[in-house]
Amino acid sequence: MTSLAARLRYVLRRALDATVRSPVVSAVATVTLAVSLFLTGLFAAGLHAGEALLAAWAGEVRISIDVDPAVDLQAARAAAAALAPGLAVEAVPAAEALRRFREALGPDAALADGLGPDVVPPTIELRAPGLRLERARALSERLRAVPGARGVDYGGAELEALERALRTLRRVGALVLAALALGTAVLVGNTLRLGVFARRDELEILRLVGATGAFVRAPFLVEGLAQGLLGGAAAAGALAALAAAAAPRLLSALALAAPLAGRDLVPLSLAVSLVLGGGLLGLAASALAVSREGTRH
């Protein structure tokens, strides 16, 4: 066995030994990491679901141009098609527009009685599947040039409100996540420091028999990494369980959330990120806890 393998084996054995000998410290550190990562995951899952919804809704972008009834509808359609190459463009005469309006009103269709082309004008409808919001906005601006166009609507108000909210959430989220990660690292670092303190005699003896700072620190780092990975896995598992339990109710309660699939709530990438992030956080916390051990004589 090489010297490196002997050292590695020693470090792993000591990390396991320390975990077994200090189960309370290990459990507290792991649970703290798991709770922190769960909260982080919950926030990230919410953000991700919002983005998935936005993408789903944006995928159904319909741009509607109200056209002056006096203008040649087919000529307006051709102009719109020229401005939006590749998109499905439909000319909807006033009568058809009114019929669709009645249909949209459903049981209140009677409200549309007596309305004429002045109120429900002929329209040009464009379907833009998968069009991003900013492109839909730009295209709508261009379509104002269609002859006889009175107004262009792409349902942007709701989407923009959602996008604004998500943008704010992303910014706040980045700050919250950074603060949460730092707080967790300090909290877990202090918890692990208790473990280091409890083993100060052992560390002193190891230093006296010639252990390097890295040799002294390594088992603690491995311990922190393992606790972080375990905490991350627990957080991912709890999130997945929560999503499995709550998703059906959420999807049935909110019609707007219908485009969401279960995997949108806790995607695999989020679960993997939580586990790996947990490992990194545990590593950082244990590095913080044993930072002084490398410089002591």
């Binding site: 066995m1 010297s3 002997a6 006296l208 252990a211 390097t212 700072g213 040799f215 410089t295 004589h297």
Partner: protein, 228 residues
């Protein structure tokens, strides 16, 4: 092997613990370091193992200036030494064999080699049947023998023993002293700090006497009237 050149160690607001000490220990020599409590014996030992740095002067071990050794190099310097303490300083959750193995493990010695050398060290201190015992299950004398075995397992050039018999009865004291003499007989340089006058009288060796941080005598055997 070991040289102290005008070494002074002063803690803030206190009188010097070590005050201008100059002494040398040749390769293969056996010496006692004695003096009353507070004379500076333990401080001197700590300076030699680089647990402290001198306020002034030089501490040379194997020709290397300990006081100028970087923190990164200190562990490698310590591997050339074995240290035995009055309170044994054993890891209570590790077996006797695991305690003895520690200096080898920190060096990354392969497992089979560790096992072989630990068995030899256990035989050397007469504890071959107690390798799997944890320190609390051993007597004080046995614990100190484990500590001596741990200090010697890495074949150190210099063995430092700080009051190694301070917690032992006379019979166990002799056993431990025999182990230290056996190590000396194999060529190890040995420095034993003790305030046990009976040891100094029983073994006619070089005795360096400290008082108030200064060397007050240095010669074969304990001079009449010297503090101990």
């Amino acid at each position: 092997m070991l040289q102290l050149l005008k070494v002074t160690k002063r803690y803030p607001g206190e009188k010097p613990s070590i005050d201008g000490v100059t002494l040398a220990l040749r390769k293969g020599e056996f010496a006692f370091l004695t003096g009353p409590s507070g004379a500076g014996k333990s401080t001197l030992m700590r300076l030699v193992v680089a647990a402290e740095r001198p306020t002034s002067g030089k501490v040379l071990v194997l020709g290397r200036d300990v006081s100028r050794t970087s923190a990164r190099q200190v562990p490698y310097l310590r591997r050339a030494m074995g240290v035995v303490f009055q309170d044994f300083k054993l890891l209570t959750h590790r077996t006797a064999a695991e305690n003895i193995a520690a200096p080898l493990e920190v060096r990354g010695v392969p497992r089979s080699e560790v096992r072989r050398r630990v068995e030899k060290a256990l035989r050397g201190v007469g504890l071959e049947l107690k390798g799997d015992k944890f320190p609390p299950a051993l007597s004080g004398g046995e614990q100190q023998r484990v500590a001596v075995a741990r200090a010697l397992v890495g074949d150190p050039a210099l063995l430092l023993a700080d009051e190694p018999t301070g917690n032992l009865d006379p019979e166990r004291t002799l056993e431990v002293m025999e182990l230290l003499h056996a190590a000396h007989a194999r060529g190890t340089t040995v420095l034993v700090a003790t305030h046990d006058r009976s040891l100094l009288e029983r073994f006619t060796r070089r005795v360096i006497a400290l008082d108030a941080g200064r060397v007050v005598s240095d010669g074969l055997g304990l001079p009449r009237g010297a503090p101990a």
